[in-house]
Amino acid sequence: MGSLHGRLDDVTADAGYQPGEHPPRKGFFTDTSVCIGCKACEVACKEWNDVPDDGFELTGMSYDNTAALGASTWRHVAFVEKPLHPTTTDLGLPGMGPPGAMEHEDQGAESGDAGVRWLMSSDVCKHCTHAACLDVCPTGALFRTEFGTVVVQPDVCNGCGYCVPACPYGVIDLRKEDGRAFKCTLCYDRLKADQTPACAQACPTESIQFGDLSELRQRADTRVAELHDQGVDVARLYGHDPEDGVGGDGAFFLLLDEPEVYGLPPDPVVTTRDLGSMWRHVGAAAVTLVGIGVAAIAGRRR
């Protein structure tokens, strides 16, 4: 058992691999500012990983008919259609305060979209540093790979479903007709063959970038600075911080609005942060139950 929360610089070694002998941690940097919503990532993922369809239904809410990540959807392109705030006039003035304070400035798309601001983002499993799905899995089906990613072994999973409510992002799910849990593997098979994961390979705009996590983090910092220089103050990174509630994500994002606008939790915390407290309270409650038993007998006889 490794550490359960907080900063962790070598998650792979923490999982039991020899420090210095395992490959560097791999991940995705999804830069949503250049996403065009083509869904090539969704298609490439389905094709490569042989993921079954999960119904051909129209959501009626936007161009997004995939709706959410799930057992048979390992990449999901969100389409946010946000009406521009009618009372806000963009004077083009430089922003004040931290990013986020300027969230009504609506710098996403000013060109002939009839007052609608478009945001597109390809969501994926975050391959958390502290992965709740992995820690709660009772069978050991979920494991940490040598690349620092989190993968389900379908031959071990018994479909208990504990990983499903454990994930703070709502990524992993049970496949109903199959009974077992599935999610993005960050193309474990392709990684082993020194190949780029299918989604990143297929992305025509390099919105999805694959590589060593340390390098991706540097690249993301540069990109945010660049966007801020261009006046896109709303650009912010999500999941990049090793100090955050899950110890940083292996797959992180550059967003142009608050996370919840894209269906992401604004401040996720891995459930196991409170595990010690949970077990202590369970222990205290068990002792209390023994006390009740003793009191029940020690009370008046019959």
Partner: protein, 313 residues
């Protein structure tokens, strides 16, 4: 702010109370709804609690030489564990792989720890009953009963960690109180079932266990319900109704058994009410979690508040 937070929609929608809004992706939920089935899992929570507390009661009765109570409680412990195991296996997506639960022991997974509590508890409580029924190996049977009584309290309470160790807001945020709700609810069910199965003259310890359990459960439930927004599912809608009815039944049965516990009819009535209330409590807690998973409000608003506090402090 939190009480008027609206579900769904962006800021562009007609704003009635702008400061009360939160944003979401077309009002869709963020975390997944637990796939655990109803009634399998809430029923298991009840059965495990009742069985665990019954094993304690049985050992207490054995110490007192109260044979009728001992026999009844041993049966409840073994049958509860057996039925609970069936419910758990039935809930699996791949039931034929249930033995994979014992493949590794992971302290980070309450389900793994629980499997290593349930398995020996089932074996020991069954052995105790088998010895009692056949009259064979009485010493070993009694030892098995002692073992079951040792595994009983953890069996009755670990399920609180099982629910709490998730991202489900109503379960996770109640992680300090839930173990006490479950310990109390288990004692109530075990005491109540024994009151149903034994004459009042032998059911004294069962009565006292049920009443003490009721007090613990009511106090712990009340302190959950007082938490702000995250406890809302315990107060509203169907889970809220289940919790309210359960509390009233528990309190009513506790009072009645204190005043009229020695009457056969009243004792049976109280026992049945205690058991039913324990079932309803488990369904209430379970469904409150489901409700909190389905509404992005319970994920976004508390996390936003946490972020705001961090930025301010």
């Amino acid at each position: 702010m939190t009480q008027t937070a609206r579900t769904g929609g962006g800021r562009g929608e007609q704003s009635m109370v702008p400061e009360a809004e939160f944003e979401s992706y077309y009002g869709r939920q963020i975390i997944k709804t637990p796939t655990w089935k109803t009634p399998d899992v809430p029923l298991y929570l009840f059965l495990g609690g009742m069985a665990g507390a019954s094993a304690v009661l049985a050992e207490g009765a054995a110490l007192q030489g109260n044979d009728r109570l001992e026999h009844a409680a041993r049966w409840v412990a073994a049958a509860g564990a057996g039925a609970g195991t069936v419910a758990l296996v039935h809930d699996l997506g791949r039931p034929e792989r249930f033995l994979n639960m014992l493949r590794v022991l992971k302290p980070t997974s309450p389900l793994s720890v629980g499997s290593f509590v349930l398995a020996p508890f089932s074996a020991l409580s069954s052995a105790a009953v088998a010895s009692q029924v056949t009259g064979r190996l009485p010493l070993l049977g009694r030892l098995a009963g002692v073992g079951a009584a040792a595994f009983g309290p953890p069996l009755a309470t670990y399920t609180a960690a099982l629910l709490a160790n998730t991202a489900v807001p109503a379960w996770h945020e109640a992680h300090r109180e839930l173990p006490f709700v479950f310990a109390g609810s288990g004692a109530t069910a075990a005491g109540g079932m024994a009151m149903l199965l034994t004459p009042p003259s032998a059911a004294g310890p069962a009565r006292r266990m049920a009443v003490a359990g009721a007090a613990l459960e009511l106090a712990a439930s009340e302190s959950i319900k007082r938490q702000g927004l995250v406890a809302e599912p315990y107060r509203e809608g169907r889970p809220g109704r289940l919790m309210r009815v359960a509390s009233r039944m528990t309190a009513g049965a506790a009072v009645l058994s204190l005043v009229a516990g020695r009457s056969r009819l009243a004792s049976s009535l109280c026992g049945a009410t205690f058991v039913t209330a324990s079932v309803l409590t488990r369904f209430g807690v379970f469904e409150a979690g489901i409700a909190s998973a389905k509404d992005p409000k319970y994920v976004v608003v508390p996390q936003r508040e946490r972020l705001a506090r961090r930025t301010a402090g």
